[in-house]
Amino acid sequence: MGANAGRGRLLPVWIERVPWWGLVLIILGLLASVRIAASPIYRHTLVFLWDGVLLTLHLTLAAYTLALVIGLVAGLMRLSKNPVVYTISTLYVEVVRGVPLLVLLIYIAFVAAPLISEAMAGAARSLGLHSLAASITAVIRSDLNRAIIGLAIGYGAYLAEIYRAGIESIPKGQMEAARSLGMSYVLAMRFIILPQALRVVLPPLGNDFIALLKDSALASAIAVPELTQAGRLLSARTFRAFETYNMVALLYLMMTLIGSLGVRALERWAKAGR
């Protein structure tokens, strides 16, 4: 606001304040729903794709939650002065960022998961860790879980860098002041640094949520029947690629737009405290 105060205005303030893009979207949404309601083909398409939408949301939310945890741990490790801890986390971030997500997913589904299953069978035989081995094998047996783990590992590396940058953006004096008041490093991190860093990292974290939602389409390559695979299946069966991919794109767009509304709200909330 303040930065714009000196600028000559073309339009009255209230016109600029109206969220026009939101109105356009609402009108567009209404038009689309009328078209969908009126056309049996689109209705059938929507019904067919609906399970895919639910699975895409499930996949995205689960993978993102896991990625937030992996990212925070890896981000804090990247800030560590301990060379072993720093090296491990840097290795993870650099390797995962250097591999395309699709390759990572295929690797996990067709190479890593079978190898781990075998290793677990070996562990159960020789070390007697039967219940642990059985539960790990059960988790990675499902394609959905493999996709969740793959996406979480991939996005964990991106989120780690966001966390690291956010924490580094807090002036050193804050940590020094907290430590001089007698707080331990962990305590200072938890109550002084992280709450401030959270504000900085919220918008990029939100953006990565939307990016993850879109990248969840890659799971179709490892036999997860999410929205993209449902679309492929339907267009292969009906030969109606036009209607199918219109609907697939519209459904993704609706999910990402709702997501970006959430991100805007978060940004506003983060700014309000300044």
Binding site: N4, E16, P19, W20, W21, V24, L25, I27, L28, L31, A32, R35, F110, A113, P114, S117, R141, D143, S220, A221, A223, P225, Q229, R232, L233, S235, A236, R237, F239, A241, F242, E243, N246
Partner: protein
């Protein structure tokens, strides 16, 4: 911030207009009227000359022995390739194979990205609505492929409660879906290629793969000792060359050439070469 909002609104508007325009053009784009069927090729009829025309052929080259990429030469090879070369020898054309994903292959054909799709394509009535087919060049049945140590699955009737893998959008996918509806199959896992489905089978992610019999042989050859076919073939289908609708010259030439290849024994030779000589265990 404010300037950006305006741009955002403008962008959404453009998207809205584009979608609207597309939707309208979609309604107008009725499928082109079916071409009158060319007269059936008479035995020993002369093969029309295509005048050296280059035929762009789309193919999902992950499907031995029909088409696969040779590990050392990196050339596409297989029964379908030899067949097309024989056809082009007679019809005076040049077969140019282009590797593409199975997913969307018929849409690409209908839109004219290829002149033909030769990729072990089954002739179905559903497909005939948007694309044309040459005469059939090979009959086959679908079979159940399992790991060689499998004992519980002995044929298509013992798949109840089992997880079955297929390639998305194939006739095998359709058959598996139909079996699932009847409760004769537990779950279906859909992969982008049969190669990945077979890999998942060997990794024990799934219990069986439903696949065309000759392709089953192909994968058994690539993975000796690890796979076996169980039960008898449970469908009877035919493979043909998929053609873009509205290209009667190509269909006539291919059908006439196929007639000749069938009657002079060339097709039998190719069959021996790719399916008998290279049958599993030989």
């Amino acid at each position: 911030m404010k300037g950006r909002t305006v741009w955002y609104a403008l962008f959404v508007l453009i998207v809205a207009l584009t979608v609207g325009a597309c939707a309208r053009s979609g309604q107008q784009a009725a499928p082109p009227a079916a071409q009158p069927a060319p007269p059936a090729g008479q035995p020993a009829a002369a093969v029309p000359d295509l005048g050296g025309r280059e035929i762009k052929i789309g193919s999902d080259t992950t499907y031995p022995p029909f088409e696969s990429v040779n590990e050392t030469t990196k050339e596409i090879e297989g029964f379908d390739i030899d067949l097309m070369n024989e056809i082009c020898k007679r019809a005076n054309c040049k077969a140019k194979f282009i590797t593409t994903a199975w997913d969307g292959i018929f849409v690409a054909l209908a839109q004219g990205q290829f002149d033909a799709v030769v990729s072990g394509v089954t002739i179905t009535d559903e497909r005939k609505k948007t694309i044309d087919f040459s005469e059939a060049y090979l009959r086959y049945g679908q079979v159940v492929l399992v790991r060689s140590d499998e004992s519980a699955i002995v044929g298509v009737d013992s798949l109840t409660g089992k997880n079955v893998g297929v390639q998305t959008g194939t006739t095998n996918d359709e058959k598996a879906s139909a079996l699932q509806k009847e409760g004769k199959v537990g779950g279906i896992k859909r992969y982008e290629t049969f190669a990945l489905a077979v890999k998942a089978l060997m990794n024990k992610d799934i219990d069986a793969v439903i696949i065309d019999s000759y392709a089953a042989d192909g994968f058994m050859n690539v993975n000796p000792g690890k796979l076996k076919k169980v039960g008898e073939p449970f469908t009877s289908e035919a493979l043909g060359i998929a053609l873009k609708q509205g290209d009667p010259a190509l269909k006539q030439a291919f059908d006439a050439a196929l007639q000749q290849i069938k009657s002079d024994g060339t097709l039998d030779g190719l069959y021996q070469e790719w399916f008998v000589k290279r049958a599993p265990g030989k």
